[in-house]
Symmetry: C2
Subunit: 210 residues, 2 copies
Amino acid sequence: MEFIKQPMAIENRSMEIIAPYLEKFSLNEEEVKLYSRMIHASGDVEYANVIKIDKNVIDSMKAALKKGCNIFTDVEMVRTGINKRKLAAFGGEVFCKVSDPAIMDIAKEKGITRSMAAMRSFGTDLNGAIIAIGNAPTALFEVLRMMEEEDIRPAAIVGTPVGFVGAAESKAELAKRSKVPFITVEGTKGGSPIAASCVNAVMYMIDNSR
Amino acid sequence: MEFIKQPMAIENRSMEIIAPYLEKFSLNEEEVKLYSRMIHASGDVEYANVIKIDKNVIDSMKAALKKGCNIFTDVEMVRTGINKRKLAAFGGEVFCKVSDPAIMDIAKEKGITRSMAAMRSFGTDLNGAIIAIGNAPTALFEVLRMMEEEDIRPAAIVGTPVGFVGAAESKAELAKRSKVPFITVEGTKGGSPIAASCVNAVMYMIDNSR
């Protein structure tokens, strides 16, 4: 059976197929790249209707990445999905503490989720960093609280938690209350590959590599 | 702000919300659990209309898992998403070679994708195992070829590659040509969390833990 076997050919062809779905939106070239990669990660063109971004978010992420900012994720799948070789070339690293035994103890003790406890524990390390939350609404709520109560200021927040309990609410709150530029998705859809794709999309823009 | 912070309460409430969307399908109790977890992983109830499973796949996966079968994945994100502590309790392990330098060399030399080269390299280790492919259509095509040309017989195949180039075709071919029970999704949707959720759903069924 004949099928395309070259990874970059597959990716380029995917982007061509996605392009017409974005024509009716007034997006600049970089926004098209971001939206395309999110759609590419989900296989779902309906994302075009529910993606919601702050107009400064791409610039803010690019500036932070160029300065070698770190990335903090809620779950291991987001960390796994981020192109760490590319990030290391800019000087950054990805951190996730959801499986850290100390965090697990804190979560159990306080009756909160592990990803919420993990996000809290990062504290002021989040200043100037990119936060990428693909799974846990509770982690996103916690970051909103930290911005408001502890003056934490990340460079940007990618918040695409998925699901039916708290996810849509957490993303609506992000769009309403975030004190820094953000990328999110309205409703129940989202997930780790979507969050990771946002970070990767912006890294590829910086050196125009993909 | 008030929101549910207990992980199992969040999961249980999610499953309650998903249930009405599955009522119109004639699914048994275990199939409902499987479908629910796939929908839970995507935040997308439309999955109910595109999930396609072989009627023996849950039994086949349960039997293999109970015997301590291994799981082979196309990408690291699927490996990350699988509950490895639970799998280890049954005696199994997850393998992924997509980032193995030797595999990268083979892929480059042959002009094929890394996940395709990785799947090929597993060879007869795939017999009796569960294959979980969440990203790469090429890996799924390769498994179909191995079943036909090399008599490889996994216990089951979870094939939910995502995207616009080859994904839908690879999944249609899986449903048509697979020599073993399978789980798949029609069309462009899919992804690593979906593939991982299938494996986790069946593991949780075995000990009725979730």
